[in-house]
């Protein structure tokens, strides 16, 4: 079986993504399991690692890059992210505020 350089490169991309994902997940779980910080800080770390991991998935598995290549996909994802931030952020602010004022 002949293995071309581009095949090698593609394989490495996936392998890298897989490895990074496992490591990032591991760190997340370790922070919670060993209670490495105070609860809020732990949650902050978990969220931060989740964001990194999402980027890793996007890059290595979904092949989204900043290059001109996948541009319409990228635009789409960025726009969706904006909408999601608006919706989720707005909802949290609004409903949590309501809850606080009604209890």
């Amino acid at each position: 079986m002949n293995i071309s350089p581009s095949l090698r490169r593609d394989f490495l991309t996936y392998a890298l993504g897989y490895g990074l994902a496992i490591v990032l997940t591991g760190i997340s779980f370790a922070f919670v399991f060993y209670r490495l910080l105070v609860p809020q800080a732990v949650f902050g770390v978990v969220l931060f690692l989740a964001v990194i991991q999402i980027v890793v998935h996007m890059r290595c598995f979904l092949h989204i890059s900043l290059k001109q290549s996948a541009r319409s996909d990228l635009q789409l994802i960025l726009f969706s992210t904006l909408i999601i931030i608006l919706m989720v952020g707005g909802t949290l602010i609004v409903v949590l505020d309501q809850n606080a004022r009604m209890m």
Binding site: S72, S80, L86, G90, T91
Partner: protein
């Protein structure tokens, strides 16, 4: 658990409107039964007529199974027309009730009245507004961007049939069972099992789900079409404005529908699986529903207004014989409205008790939308400036729109001020506001677009005389019907009131009633116009295809267009491509050479998937589980089987395309170019004279 129960779920005799009216013959029930009779009778007559005319085969093979975006667009509009007739009659009954029921019961009982406003609102938004606009976009948008079809024709057909399925459910609720009484927004906990155990809220949940599923797929379809299927040279800043608004509407559909899906799903989970999302007890919280619903609901109203904005842009420019003023501004304003519309949803519940800074933030965000909206209106006004304005039906509606819409905008800004909203929220003032947006905004736009593109789609013009009558009814009727509602709202009259207790309201309700009847007459005029126009079609034919001396690519082909739209995909080098081509004599020229054209074959998969899911959801409503399962199996099975079908396209040989195109070119060469002031005469064969 009897066999009947398994077979029919919770359907019983008394679910039938006729049986209810028989047992309890009050006026209200009789009206209900009459409506049911109209629905059933209409279906029977239609069925009989089609059988008598032996039209089934034609209908099936040319229309119902068609994947052609033009036919799908027309079917959307016909469907919306049917639903419109019902929702409009309901509106008239609502107004009549409020005119009569001052210190008495009026003609419909409380529960029936609640069904009326709920179905009226739901139908108008989901089964009139959206289908009308989706139909229009379906027909026009691919033509405008120089494409043979939408990106996913098969998906397009599924969307259509899902929407129609939702409409069928709405109609079914007239005959079997009752519809929800919770309004078009269906707020829990009122719509929870604890307070509404019947099938009403379930009808609402599932019919809205069908429609929103259809709208979501349409959004994806159109967005991809506009992104990827533009003719060469059709860059972003050369897109016609209607296409721009279609794009923004599609984006809104893609991102605004999911919150609705989630909200209805959760409500369904509460009702079917005993969960506690929005119940009063066990940690339910109805505020989440309200929040999710308006996360959808606000973008939804812009879904309804943006395409009409596109129509006005096209119509005003074409009939002012002039380039659109401020194209870039209009594009920016459209996008600004689309994005801002995701930041204002809270203005629908200023009175829910959140703190002042939050209310203030959303109030300001709402007002911001006024800026781009105003820009658009000014742009249309300046488009007429230095033009040659033909004051025909479409222009009358456009000018009527500008004048009236700003009044609704004014009441919108008033509502956006939280302290004032505390007073007029949930009153008739709000009702007046949004009808003031929807009727002069959306419906006038649809009528203008209908008048403008009708000759393109059918090859003959609509009657101008009846068009003007229609305009009169709609313009005067609107003011009479809804200005009184502003006044009553300021007087604290709550919306959704089945009975009023204050005789001083009577003059106002009577004026509003007259207005509603006038609007109803307006709709009648539309139908008469269609009838008259069909009868006179021999004098109004415009086969060459450019009756209005218009500017976009959609006018560069015969009327009606060939099924493949463009004999050769055009090369675009400027905005208003066809206008420049006419100017530099590039129009009506044969192509260098013609190629084979591949088009999707007709397919009955769309109708099967749509009707399958409809049956499934109908089973859910009535707890007829076998039907639900069967319906789902049909839908899913069809989709799977279709995915194994590799033979989905057919080819139109180049020779046929060439022959057809030549025939059209000969027709154009034989026609006499018509100057603008003669375009409403029988001389007009659809070839406009070049006049700058």
């Amino acid at each position: 658990m009897t066999i009947w129960h398994i077979l029919l779920g919770r359907l019983t005799w008394s679910s039938l409107a006729f049986v209810r009216a028989w047992r309890d013959p009050t006026l209200s029930e009789l009206i209900g039964a009459a409506a049911a009779a109209i629905a059933v009778g209409g279906a029977v007559v239609l069925f009989g007529l089609l059988t008598y005319l032996r039209a089934w085969r034609y209908l099936w093979s040319e229309w119902l199974t068609s994947l052609d975006h033009k036919r799908i667009g027309i079917m959307y509009m016909v469907f919306a027309g049917v639903m419109l007739a019902r929702a409009l009659i309901e509106a008239v009954v609502i107004r009549t009730q409020q005119a009569i029921a001052i210190n008495n019961q009026g003609i419909v009982g409380p529960e029936h009245f609640a069904e009326l406003f709920s179905t009226h609102g739901t139908i108008m938004v989901f089964f009139v507004g959206m289908p009308l606009l989706i139909g229009l976009m379906n027909y026009v948008m691919p033509l405008q961007i120089g494409s043979r079809d939408v990106a996913f024709p098969y998906l397009n057909s599924i969307s259509l049939w899902l929407t129609i399925g939702g409409g069928i459910m709405m109609m079914a609720s007239l005959v079997v069972g009752k519809f929800s009484t919770g309004g078009w927004s269906g707020y829990p906990p009122y719509t929870e099992l604890a307070f509404n155990g019947g099938v009403g809220p379930d009808y609402w949940i599932w019919s809205v789900s069908l429609s929103s599923l259809g709208a979501l797929m349409t959004g994806i379809n159109f967005a991809v079409t506009i992104y990827k299927f533009r003719a060469p040279g059709m860059t972003w800043m050369r897109l016609p404005l209607f296409t721009w608004t279609s794009l923004c509407t599609s984006i809104l559909m893609i991102f605004a529908v999911p919150p609705l899906t989630i909200a209805t799903l959760m409500l369904a989970a509460d009702r079917y699986l005993g969960m506690h999302f929005f119940t009063n007890d066990l940690g339910g919280n109805m505020m989440n529903f309200v929040n999710l619903f308006w996360l959808f609901g606000h973008p939804e109203v812009y879904i309804l207004i943006l395409p009409p904005f596109g129509v006005y842009s096209e119509v005003v420019s074409a009939y002012s014989s002039k380039e659109l003023y401020g194209y870039t501004s209009l594009v920016i304003a459209t996008m600004a409205i689309a994005i801002l519309s995701f930041t204002v949803w809270l203005h629908h519940f200023f009175t829910m008790g959140q703190s002042a800074p939050i209310n203030a933030f959303f109030g300001i965000a709402t007002m911001l939308i006024g800026i781009p909206t105003g820009v658009k209106i000014y742009d249309w006004i300046w488009t007429m400036f230095w033009g040659e304005v033909r004051l025909n039906t479409a222009m009358l509606f456009s000018i009527g729109f500008m004048v009236t819409f700003v009044i609704g905008g004014m009441s919108g800004i008033i509502l956006a001020t939280p302290p004032v909203d505390y007073m007029v929220h949930n009153t008739l003032f709000l009702i007046a506001h949004f009808h003031n947006m929807l009727i002069p905004g959306m419906l006038y736009g649809v009528i203008a677009g209908y008048y403008y593109w009708f000759p393109k789609a059918f090859g003959f013009r609509l009657s101008e005389k009846w068009g003007r009558r229609t305009f009169f009814c709609f313009f005067v009727g609107f003011y009479l019907a809804f200005m009184p509602l502003y006044v009553m709202g300021l007087g604290g009259v709550a919306r959704r009131s089945q009975e009023l207790f204050d005789p001083t309201l009577r003059p106002w309700t009577i004026v509003a009633e007259i207005g509603a009847l006038l609007l109803f007459t307006g709709l009648a005029c539309i139908f008469i116009q269609l009838y008259v126009s069909i009868k006179q079609r021999h004098q109004t034919r415009v086969p060459v295809g450019d009756p209005w001396d218009a500017r976009g690519l959609e006018w560069s082909m015969s009327a009606p267009p060939p099924e493949y739209n463009f004999a050769v995909i055009p090369q675009v080098s400027r905005r208003d491509a066809f206008y420049w081509r006419k100017k530099y004599d590039g129009a009506y020229r044969p192509a260098d050479h013609y190629r084979d054209i591949e088009l999707p074959k007709n397919s009955m998969c769309g109708i099967l998937v749509g009707m399958g899911l409809t049956a499934c959801f109908f089973g859910f409503v009535w707890h007829i589980w076998w039907l639900a399962f069967l319906g789902f199996a049909v839908a899913f099975g069809t989709a799977v089987v279709r995915s194994f079908n590799r033979d989905v396209n057919r080819v139109i040989p180049a020779a046929e395309v060439a022959a057809h195109d030549r025939r059209w070119l000969d027709r154009a060469a034989a026609a006499r170019p018509i100057p603008r002031h003669l375009e409403l005469t029988p001389e007009n064969e659809g070839l406009a004279k070049w006049q700058g």
